[in-house]
Each structure stands twice: as C-alpha cells, then as structure tokens.
C-alpha cells in the first residue's frame, strides 16, 4: 500500500517524464575470463502507447538490458549501474522486494521460447493464475475465472477445458498466446517482448504480433519489442533502437531508420534483410565478420572491425576514438565518425541502390 502511494507521488513530482526512461544503463558480468560488458551505456525512453523496437544480432545486449529493467539478473554476478525510471520510480537502486512487487504487475515480460519458459509440471491455467494471485488477493476461483477470460481474450478456443492442459499439450502458437495471457493478466503498463515470434511459424508470427498490438492499444501500455527481424519492426514499432556490442549505435522513429539510416551497421542490417518486393536475382549482402568480444571491447567504434567505411574517416579515428551518440536530426541519434553530409552521400549513392 505504502509503495503505491510513494510511486504515485513520485510520478507526480516528475511531470512530462516518459513512462520508462533508461539512462546510461550498464550491465557487466564478472566472469573468470574477465568483465563482460554486455550493456555499456544504454539510454532510451518509451512513452505509454508507444512501441519501441530493439534490434541487433545475438549477443548485442538486447535481452540483457531488458532483463535488467525487469530486475531478473542475480546480484551475485551482474553489476548494474545507471538509472531505470519506471513511472517515476528508480529501479536500479530499488530493493529486490520493491522490484519484485512491480514484476508481473506493472511490468511484464514475454519470452522467446514458450515451451521452455513454462513449467512442464503445472497446468497452463494454474501458471497464469499464479501470476494473478501474486499481485491480487482474491480467492482461487476468481483467479481461475480471470485466467479463463484472459485465455479467451488471447484467442485460445475452449479456454475452460484448456485451462487444465499442460504446456506440452499446447501447440507453439497456443503456448505463446498463453505466455502473453500470463504477462498481461495483471494489466502491466510496461510490456517487454523478448523475441516473441522467433520460435513460431511465419503465419503464427503475424497473429501473435497483431495480438500484442491489439492488447497494447487496449491497455495503452509502453512496449519494448526485442527482435532481430527488421520486418517485424517495420510492421509493429513506432521507434527503433539498433544495438551493437552492448551499445546503441542508432535510434530514431521507424520511417527515419528505414528510409534514411545513417549508421553503416544499420545499412548492413537492411542489406541483409530478405525482401519480397525486390528482384529475386539480387543476392542478400551479409555483414562480414563477427560481433566483437564483449570482454575485450575494441578501442574506438565498436563496429570498426566490420565497417567497410572506416578507411574514409581521416586520422584513423574509428580505431582510436569512441564516437558519441549524436543527434543527426530531431529524434534520430547516430553513433558514427563519418560526417553527416558524407554519410548521406554514401547512403544515396552506394547503399540505397542495393537495398
């Protein structure tokens, strides 16, 4: 009770603040091989009713940063610094108890693989009810009714009988629907979907994304959609944040990022994306090389080893100076040493024709 009043008073004290604001978030893991800088200085914000897409390769820090927001890392090996403001409440410095009370109620998460993310020994319905019962003091019967209602809402037929089925008796798409029901049962205002469609058929993917969009509109929540599928981003998101090597390398509204991308890594991502509206003869252009080691992050720009344009920047700057995230235009930030005019030139003449 007390925590809610504190939250609202704090929320009122900061008018005009975005619903979720992440400020210079760093998540470092202490391992035997050294410090893994999984997320290094990430800053972004999401308003209510907005969908932010976070894209990047595996190991770029997408999931790690979202789990940091949810407070799912263990204190014993993860060192988290920076600020995470959710509706006026700071989460990095909050106690485990405070964050736990927010988890599942104010912020919820949908995971990538719905089969391994559900407990094999409990029925789907009971697992969803459990999520409701943690935050709502109601009799079990009421929780069951609420769960059945939620299962119906996410499009599970015969919800009353399917309640008692186990996860292995559900199909992949049904399981992900059930996961969504579990995440949304307490009507969270922040929803993080970590690659929610990766494990699913293409036809089911579209349905699931549509469902997330619908429910998001209904609850007016802020949504973070983590994916490596740019098609999903283009279709679903309002804003995009491109991550590479634990850092944000470019962010902006979807149209800017797709039609006027400025960072060579984003170009690479766009070029390696299959397109139905292009001639099939043209080959996809992959980004050569591997993502950097997060233990020995390269000096200078994180993308320098794979960037085909680093030689065009005078003074070997890409290999010596770490570029800042600079505003290219309102609402569009880019982390690149190539001067803005030259970037636009390269994009127009060398990249755009091959997209």
């Amino acid at each position: 009770m007390t925590s809610t009043t504190v939250t609202t008073s704090r929320a009122k004290a900061r008018p005009g603040e975005p619903f979720l604001r992440v400020e210079d978030l760093r998540v470092h893991f202490l391992t035997d091989d050294g410090v893994v800088r999984s997320v290094d200085g990430l800053t972004f914000d999401v308003k209510r009713g907005e969908i932010l897409g976070i894209v990047g390769e595996s190991g770029s820090g997408k999931s790690v940063s979202s789990q940091a927001i949810m407070g799912l890392h263990h204190d014993s090996n993860a060192r988290i610094t920076g600020e995470i403001w959710l509706d006026g409440q700071e989460l990095v410095s909050a106690t485990e108890q405070e964050v736990r009370e927010l988890r599942g109620s104010k912020m919820a998460m949908i995971f990538q693989d719905p089969l391994s993310s559900m407990h094999p020994f409990y029925s789907v319905g009971d697992q969803i009810s459990e999520a409701y019962l943690v935050h709502n003091k109601v009799p079990k019967k009421a929780a069951r009714a609420k769960t059945v209602e939620m299962l119906k809402r996410v499009g599970i037929p015969n919800a009353e009988t399917r309640y008692d089925d186990y996860p292995h008796q559900f199909s992949g798409g049904m399981r992900q629907r059930a996961m969504i029901a579990m995440a949304l049962i307490c009507e969270p205002t922040l929803l993080i979907a970590d690659e929610p469609t990766t494990a699913l058929d293409v036809t089911v993917q579209a349905q699931i994304l549509e469902l997330i969009k619908e429910l998001q509109a209904e609850l007016n929540s802020a949504v973070i959609l983590i994916t490596h599928d740019l098609g999903v981003v283009a279709e679903t998101c309002d804003k995009v944040l491109v991550m590479y090597g634990g850092q944000c390398v470019e962010q902006g509204v979807v149209n800017d990022l797709f039609y006027e991308p400025e960072m060579p890594y984003t170009w690479g991502l766009l070029r390696s994306m299959p397109r139905m509206d292009r001639d099939r003869e043209t080959r996809l252009v992959p980004i050569p090389g591997q993502p950097p080691s997060l233990i020995n992050v390269p000096e200078g720009c994180v993308f320098n080893a794979r960037c085909p344009f680093s030689s065009r920047v005078p003074g070997n700057k890409c290999f010596t100076v770490h570029p800042n995230l600079v505003k290219a235009k309102p609402g569009h930030d880019v982390r690149c040493h190539i001067p803005v005019a030259q970037r636009e030139e390269i994009f127009r003449t060398e990249i755009q024709p091959s997209l």
Binding site: Q67, M70, L72, S76, R100, E101, L102, R103, G104, S105, A108, M109, F111, D113, S116, S117, M118, H119, P120, F121, S123, E130, A131, V134, H135, Y166, H168, Q169, M179, M182, A183
Partner: protein, 336 residues
Amino acid sequence: MIRFIALRLVGAVIVLFIVSVVTFLIFQLGPLLSHTSPVYYYIGKVPFKPGSPQLLALIHRFGFDLPLYQQYWHYLSGILFGQTITDGVTKPIPCPAPCFGYSFRENDLVSTMLIQAAPVSISLCIGAAILWLIGGVTVGTLSALKPGSIIDRVGMTGSLAAVSLPIFFTGPLLLLLFEYTLGWLPNVTYEPLTQDPLQWFNSLILPWVSLAFLFAALYARLTRSNMLETMGEDYIRTARAKGLNARTVIVKHGLRSALTPIVTIFGIDFGTLIGSTVITETVFNLRGLGFTALHAIQQEDFPVILGVTVVAACVLVLANLVVDILYAVIDPRVTA
C-alpha cells in the same frame, strides 16, 4: 493414468516371474554343474555316498529327480498357494503361502524366518530413508542456492567426507559416543514397533543415523547438481518475472523439478537397500534380512538364501513400481 498403472503392474509381474525363474535355476544348476545333488544344499550334509540307494531315495523323496519344470512349479506353487512339508519321518509341517520351503539347518520354515527378519530391515530402511532424504535434500538445496558460498563448501566437503566413511567406521563411532561414553542408549535391543515403540526407536536411531549419513551425502550432491541445473531453466526466469517471492520460486518451481530424478534413484536405492543392510545389521546387532542372508550363506542354507533373494527382488520391483507411478504423478508428460 489407470492404463499406465495397469501396464506397470503387468510389467512388474513379468519381472517377478523372470526373477523367480532365474533365482530358481541358479540355485538348481549350481550344484548340478559341480556334479553334486542339490539335496546336499537343501537338507545338509548327509552321510550317504553318491549313488547309494539311501541318497537316491532321499533325492526322490524331495523331488530332486523330477524334471526341472516340475520342480519349478512345485517351488512356485509353494510360494503362491502354500504346501505341506514332509520328510517322511516326522510329522508333516503345514507351510501356508508364501512358502519358501524349510530350513533344515535352523529347523524352521523359511517364511517364518523371513517374517521375523523383514520388519527389522523395513524399519531400518524407512527410518534411514526419511533422515537421508530430509538431510540430503536440504543440504543440497542450500548449497545450490549460493554456489561457492561457505554453506556450499561446508556442505559439499562434509558430504564428500560422509560418502568416504564406511558404516563399519561411523557405526562403531556412534556406538562408542552415545552408548558407551555418554550412556544415552544403554544396551537397547530391537523390539517390534507394535510391542514397544520407544524401545524400537531407541534401538534403531543409531543405525538410522549411520546409514542415513552415507546416503544423505549422496543425495546432497545429487540435489545440488539437479538444483543448479533447474535454477538456470527458462521457466525459473518466468516464475521470477511473475513477481513470485524467492521461496516460491525455489520450492514450487525449482525443487519440484530437481527432485524428479531423485525420486527415481531413491526407488532403486531403497529397493536395493532392504536386502543389503548386512553391515549395519551386523554392527548394531540387528537380525534383519541382511543378517539372515549372511548367516544362511555361511551355513550353506540354500532355502533361506533363495527366500531372501526372492523377497529382496520383490521389494526392489515394488519400490520401482511405486516410483514409476509417483513419477507419473509428478511429471504430467510421463503418462501422455
């Protein structure tokens, strides 16, 4: 679920049948291969020369000249329906089912001996099992929650030490401490639970502890590794993401999965243990199945060895049956 249990029951019956055939054959063929008649092992040292008419008469009287399948049927029907034992001289002895024959060494029915010995073994094993399960799982879970911590190191070093110490070391050590030095349990002899519960408890507490000590160590290590694996599962992350408190996550979501493989191993361990607590029984002077078997082996008392073997096998099969059913209750994927 009913189908599953029925199938398992049929399986158990088949296994028991095979066990009875194999044990019967071993005890028949052993003497035959060494060119002696099984009659020696069943009746004892008879002062008749091989081939002498008296010996042949004896062999005939006890049916050792019948074809093997008839002998087997005689033996099996004895277990299932009972029989009357007669040596042709003294009064016939009725031997109700399950009849495992007569021990001429002990002058007693084998089933009577087993019925006296079995409760001792069962009391010993169940008590020890409760102790080692509680102890082992608790230590293992605590260790797994903070790997590398002081609790983990003490728990795991302690369990390594416990595994390394045999019962003939820990048993006398406990006796020395509690019975002789502190005098807490002076000279307690076993009494059945139904007759004197306190005496029963007092006579078994030290055997329980020393037996449990050994197994708890094993179970602590098992629980720890299972728990470490389980706590890294995706569904544990989901449970935490729901906002469940740490205890619910650990016990309801973590331990429940981590204990499943332990249930399987427990069934085998417990089933095997019933007939093999001979060291514990000897150290603490308990007359259980292990002691009975050892004594029978020393006396070459075949009917008793056979009886103990069959009973031990039955317990093992039964324990596994219970475990299989329990497993299906725990893990809904098993019956599907």
